[in-house]
Symmetry: C2
Subunit: 246 residues, 2 copies
């Protein structure tokens, strides 16, 4: 059996998220699996590095699948590009080692969250940014973001109340940058709980709006109570940028 690795970009706007759902057509995984099964003439199951929620975008999602068909990767790539809709793009397609698994072997991920922090129109990027014209204190947000760095129990920053597994994660980088009207958050960590990036960004934004002190992050981390953390910012501003492997 061959093992093939794909790097995928997608505009999540019109999808129900990455994960195939029974009876539901519009998922990224579903679109890819049906295209691959048609091209390779065998049933393909795709393993993604992780799910992305409805409306979330990706520039570097990684997935792998096994197949028996000997079609060259270059041919699979060009056929996929022909059959997939315009809002799903295949960046690369290559042979992977037989033990490669896109989720189990991922060592870290980088997400980007974009906020349009202005009254000015944002016509061309409107589907990829969260519009929030509020006055924000950048220095306070940078301080708040820095408190998240390192290894913590993120149970209070997760939408799922009953995690069976560990909720401890490590954040390597949490950058807050301003580019013109845009505020861009970049989060790099060894893994993320359900909705965690969106809650982290929501919490930092609440600090930016003066509803919370930067130091309150320490309390939130120790209290482990979702109700105390910031709101879950909308999916449309979020993009999975890269999945890192060893």
């Amino acid at each position: 059996m061959r093992n093939i690795k794909l790097t995928i970009s997608y505009d999540g706007t019109r999808y129900r998220g990455w994960q195939r759902l029974s009876g539901v057509e519009n998922t990224i995984q579903g679109k890819l699996e049906s295209a691959l099964s048609g091209i390779l003439q065998e049933e393909i199951t795709l393993f993604g590095s992780g799910r992305t929620d409805a409306g979330v975008h990706a520039k570097g999602q990684v997935a792998n699948f096994h197949c028996q068909n000997q079609m060259p990767c270059q041919e699979i790539l060009s056929q996929l590009r022909r059959y997939l809709p315009e809002d799903i793009g295949i960046e690369s397609c290559s042979e992977a080692g037989e033990r490669f698994h896109s989720r189990l072997n991922a060592v870290s991920k980088t997400y980007c969250y974009r906020v349009w922090n202005s009254d000015a129109p944002c016509v061309f990027e409107r589907k990829y940014v969260y519009r929030l014209p509020a006055k924000l204190d950048d220095e306070a947000m940078k301080l708040a973001a820095a408190y998240f760095l390192g290894t913590h129990d993120f149970q209070g920053f997760c939408s799922n109340k009953h995690y069976k597994k560990s909720t401890v994660r490590t954040i390597y980088r949490f950058a807050v940058e301003r580019l013109g009207h845009e505020l861009r958050f970049t989060v790099h960590g060894d893994g993320f709980l359900y909705n965690m990036v969106r809650i982290l960004v929501g919490t930092v934004l609440e600090v930016g709006m003066g509803r919370m002190e930067p130091g309150a992050v320490l309390t939130l981390l120790s209290e482990k109570n979702r109700a105390l953390a910031g709101y879950t910012v909308p999916a449309k501003g979020l993009c999975l940028m890269e999945v890192q492997y060893q």
Copy 2:
């Protein structure tokens, strides 16, 4: 009567173009006029600097209108931003001199045309670029573009066969730049005939593909025959960037 000037950006994808058409809902001018008439409680006629075709975008369209209502410009701006759809943005709204007319006073315009010159996916910009993965000779295209500079009769680069007025125009700049997978054409001139920018770009692309020599542009300019010039590239790659006034 007040005279008010607007600078407007729009994603032309779902519109039938700038100009209001009787019985047709989705034009940019139509949307703006009905929003303004509602906000100001009087019938507003908007004068655009020029029409843009169905599917063409703008980052700096200029228009003006007269009104009697004394609502401050800042209030008109914020109400417009509230009522307009997300794909039409108002960049600015200001009082203009009583003699200002967005079309008659325009001295030049700058258009940008974007070509995605790669097999690679272009998921996020897909509605704003023309995808053309062909191999292109950049140097030949730059030479061809340079032949258009200056004052010429552009009758052969226009979709309308029966122009009553002069078809002589002056091109001040015609840049061909490569930015990663993208090829970007910037055209600055004192005015443009119907479809002229798209035919100019189509002609330069034909030179890039080796179907025509750069010097053939001289013949095309002197022959004044639309059938000899290049094809009309798709509307989606075109954007009106700026209208210049004295």
